[in-house]
């Protein structure tokens, strides 16, 4: 009887999931800027352009993006969601920029604390850190909209 009840609950869960679709997983990252930056929210496409240095802040100020290491799970998810590409594809874009003599990629910081320090030191900075990371005064998260 107990097994039957378990089977019914499991079946209901499967059917429920099928009917309503998977729950969206919470982001493992948050996008952060220097607190002097008045921006509070940006469309995803604009964030992608800022990280590729193909756009400026609304004020016209130059953007200073910063990345986590290539193999960081936070970077992998950020790149997939924001750029819609793999980290390899974005690295390939930067390699093209480098060897065309146009630009160099953003600095890669090894840990969230270093990323936060970079954002604190640069008013034009934009970066991402893992979602649970506490932010100090001088750095704040912005909303990324679709």
């Amino acid at each position: 009887m107990k097994r039957l009840r378990l089977a019914v609950v499991a079946a209901a869960a499967v059917l429920g999931a099928a009917a309503f679709g998977p729950m969206p997983a919470p982001s493992s990252y948050k996008v952060i800027v220097n607190a002097q930056n008045p921006v509070t929210s940006l469309p995803r496409a604009k964030v992608a352009k800022l990280f590729l240095r193909r756009a400026t802040w609304p004020s016209g100020a130059a953007v200073q993006p910063c990345d986590l290491p290539e193999k960081s799970p936070v970077r992998v998810e950020f790149t997939k969601v924001v750029h819609g590409k793999s980290v390899i594809a974005v690295k390939s874009f930067w390699q093209q920029q480098i060897f065309a003599g146009r630009d160099v990629p953003p600095p890669e910081k090894t840990a969230d604390a270093e990323v936060i320090a970079f954002v604190l030191a640069n008013p034009g900075a934009i970066a991402y850190v893992s979602a649970p990371t506490p932010l100090p005064n001088g750095v704040r998260a912005i909303e990324v909209t679709d």
Partner: protein, 372 residues
């Protein structure tokens, strides 16, 4: 012996770079580089330096230094080394050369001006034509870009780049250049011999002056798809194929589709030297990533030139090359390729009778490319 020593050094360099695979970069100075080392063998006449006996003296390497004086001011220098096997064009090439040396100033975020010796923004590949990790085959398609002879990657002068409509669905990248450049001119020419004229395959460096050109690339709402084209004009004071000062006019068009799993590219160019000589070249290439590391590609390229003088009027099939490539990408910074080409034409480096039967052959290139 020299080539073996160079090969050993190049291979050690590859291993070293691949193992570290990280660029030097601080706030102002960044140092990047690449190396493509190839082994090439042909079963027929000498083409693009590839002999029947095979050669490992086939590589391209560069070291690129970028110094950012400010957010808007940059100095870029690229030192380069190239070997093209047994190509006669190598007699004109030093072991190490200053490839690029330019100053760049950005006006706002949409405009950049460069002054010095810099790459021409020509076609899809010109600026990155030697970066093995960025191109699907060993070289950018010959029918469009050439290599060794009748080509210049750079211009001495100035270039202006302008981004337009950046916030729209159809952003535009426009470029223009002005200045001069040099290229190698190789032809089968008669020279005096003991018993009369004899034909030799001879080369000279030619300076193209009053060069003007530009290009326009339009991106589309389909991410990775863009179309573009451009035009060029320059004057050559003397060359084997045009004995007097002659102006060259050209135009080109292309389609560039690059997606996560596959790419498709095609470009066409036409060059006209005062109706005396007309050149038409095109290529199409496509490829698919079979896995995240392995990809397959295929390419067809064709080029002909048409000679029209008071005494001659004939068409020469220069390039007819069909190729396939298998690539293994260890990482974005380390790629191994093997490619096979079937050719039929007069793109050979030696005395040829271009009025005769086109020469058929095959050649193979295996290469290792690293970048950091």
């Amino acid at each position: 012996m020299r080539s073996v020593r160079t090969l050993v050094l190049a291979t050690l360099g590859c291993a070293l770079v691949a193992s570290s695979a990280s660029a030097q970069q601080d706030e102002k100075l960044s140092i990047h580089g690449y190396l493509t080392q190839g082994y090439a063998v042909s079963d027929s006449a000498l083409m693009i330096g590839i002999p029947k006996t095979g050669t490992t003296d086939y590589r391209r390497a560069a070291l690129l230094l970028r110094y950012s004086q400010s957010d808007r001011d940059n100095f870029v220098i690229q030192m380069a080394h190239r070997r093209l096997g047994e190509s006669p064009s190598m007699q004109f090439e030093s072991d190490v050369k200053v490839d690029w040396a330019f100053y760049e100033h950005q006006f706002g975020t949409q405009t950049r001006l460069r002054v010095g010796k810099m790459p021409i923004q020509f076609g899809i590949y010109n600026e990155i034509r030697y970066v093995g990790t960025q191109i699907p085959f060993y070289r950018a398609p010959y029918a469009f870009y050439h290599e060794g002879i009748y080509t210049s990657e750079t211009v001495d002068g100035l270039t202006v780049s302008q981004s337009l409509l950046g916030e729209t669905a159809f952003p535009i990248e426009a470029n223009a250049y002005a200045g001069s450049f040099s290229f190698l001119d190789f032809q089968t020419v008669p020279v005096p011999g003991p018993t009369g004229p004899v034909l030799v395959y001879q080369g000279q460096r030619v300076r193209a002056q009053s060069a003007l050109g530009g290009s326009l690339w339009i991106s589309t709402p389909i991410e990775g798809l863009r179309i573009g084209g451009g035009g060029q004009r320059y004057t050559v004071p003397n060359a084997f194929f045009v004995a007097r000062k002659t102006s060259f006019d050209g135009y080109n068009a292309g389609l560039d589709a690059k997606f996560e799993r596959f790419y498709l590219r095609s470009e066409f160019r036409h060059v006209d030297a005062k109706k005396i000589l007309q050149y038409d070249g095109w290529y199409s290439q496509g490829g698919v990533a079979v896995t995240s590391k392995i990809s397959l590609g295929a390419q067809a390229e064709r080029a002909t030139y048409h000679v029209r003088t008071t005494t001659s009027n004939y068409r020469v099939p220069l390039v007819h090359d069909d190729a396939v490539v298998l690539s293994y990408s260890v990482s974005p910074n380390l790629v191994v390729k093997t490619e096979a080409h079937a050719t039929k034409g007069f793109n050979v480096e030696g005395v040829t009778n271009t009025r005769g039967t086109p020469l058929e052959g095959r050649y193979f290139i295996s290469s290792l490319s690293v970048a950091f």
